[in-house]
């Protein structure tokens, strides 16, 4: 007797190298914005519609080079990279696991919920992310996600200098713009 898995269509999406990531944070003396202006490589994720609720399984991994973070201030850039333990964990990883709707269902902009495993400094956290989907021409989709994370979510201690007189706040606002092309 042979068991056959139901045939499901898998859609592959190529992540364009000009995708971006931005991190906004605050200290008790200023605020800072660190970004990765270009992802710098291409990666592939896939989506598969699996159940009646219309939820979509996703897979594939985005590897973001922590050393590419630029805070537009040499010392702050170095400090962020040190805080994120760049020498031990050079990549931040995002693995999408589920979307509330398929990305190619969109003919005009809309919002979906995404779930992803985010790995930072060797610690992985499963997170829900609110996403905006903006369809483009010929199978192109722009995915914009904004998520507030905490240094402490990833067992990181926000930097504190001069005996705690200068402190970086625990909250970080992460915004990514991912440009996908259907394969």
């Amino acid at each position: 007797m042979t068991f056959c898995a139901p045939l499901v269509a898998q859609q592959q999406w190529i992540l364009a190298s000009h995708s971006t990531l931005k991190v906004d944070g605050k200290t008790n003396i200023n605020s800072f914005a660190c970004d990765i202006s270009t992802y710098g490589r291409t990666d592939t994720i896939w989506t598969t519609q699996t159940n009646k609720e219309g939820k979509v399984k996703a897979g594939g991994e985005l590897s973001i080079q922590v050393a590419k973070f630029d805070c537009h201030h040499k010392m702050m850039t170095k400090d962020l990279q040190k805080t994120l333990k760049v020498s031990d964990y050079p990549f931040m990883k995002i693995r999408f696991t589920e979307f509330s709707k398929d990305l190619d269902d969109y003919v005009k902009a809309g919002r979906i919920e995404g779930e992803a495993d985010i790995e930072l400094a060797g610690v992985t956290r499963h997170m829900n992310i609110a996403l905006s989907v903006i369809p483009g021409a010929a199978g192109q989709v722009q995915l914009i996600g904004v998520k507030q994370i905490l240094f402490s979510d990833f067992n990181l201690k926000p930097p504190s200098k001069l005996g705690g007189a200068i402190k970086v706040k625990n909250e970080l606002l992460v915004e990514f713009r991912l440009y996908f092309q259907a394969r």
């Binding site: 008790n28 201030h73 170095k78 930097p159 007189a165 200068i166």
Partner: protein, 147 residues
């Protein structure tokens, strides 16, 4: 009838007392002025968000003990050289601050600036901060001597 001479107090007692009192004064003024400066001129402190400065709080105790380390060291220096410092309290204090700055701070700041990736303004503020600290100690020591 035997005449007993009055025992001379150990110089260490005076050094300890001077160090402790000046250390307390230095602690209050140093950290008071540091927090006030961060509040009033936050831009000056952006460069401290820099990996060369300890980030994890593991050395905070050492940081807050610094006024006492400095005041005890300066109390020893004062004990040896106070007789060479003429004038009133303020003049003595300023002169003491200048001696300390010339002998200790300028060479240390020079090597710091030459070897470590810190900017000139930061090193200059350390020099000024150290001068003010030593001057305050000098004033306190001179006051305690006269008191």
């Amino acid at each position: 009838m035997e005449n007993h001479p009055t025992p001379t107090p150990s110089p260490f007692t005076g050094i300890f007392k001077n160090g402790l009192i000046a250390g307390a004064a230095l602690f209050l003024t140093s950290f008071g002025s540091l927090y006030a400066a961060i509040h009033l001129k936050p831009d000056l402190f952006v460069n401290y968000i820099n990996p060369i400065f300890n980030s994890d709080g593991s050395r905070d105790l050492y940081f807050y003990l610094h006024p006492f380390v400095l005041s005890f060291a300066l109390a020893i220096l004062w004990n040896r050289f106070r007789r060479f410092l003429p004038g009133g309290l303020i003049i003595k204090g300023i002169e003491f601050g200048m001696v300390y700055s010339l002998v200790a701070l300028i060479p240390v700041m020079w090597i710091t600036y030459s070897a470590i990736d810190v900017d000139f303004i930061m090193v200059s503020t350390w020099l000024l901060y150290g001068f003010c600290q030593a001057t305050l100690c000098g004033v306190v020591f001179a006051f305690l001597d006269e008191w």
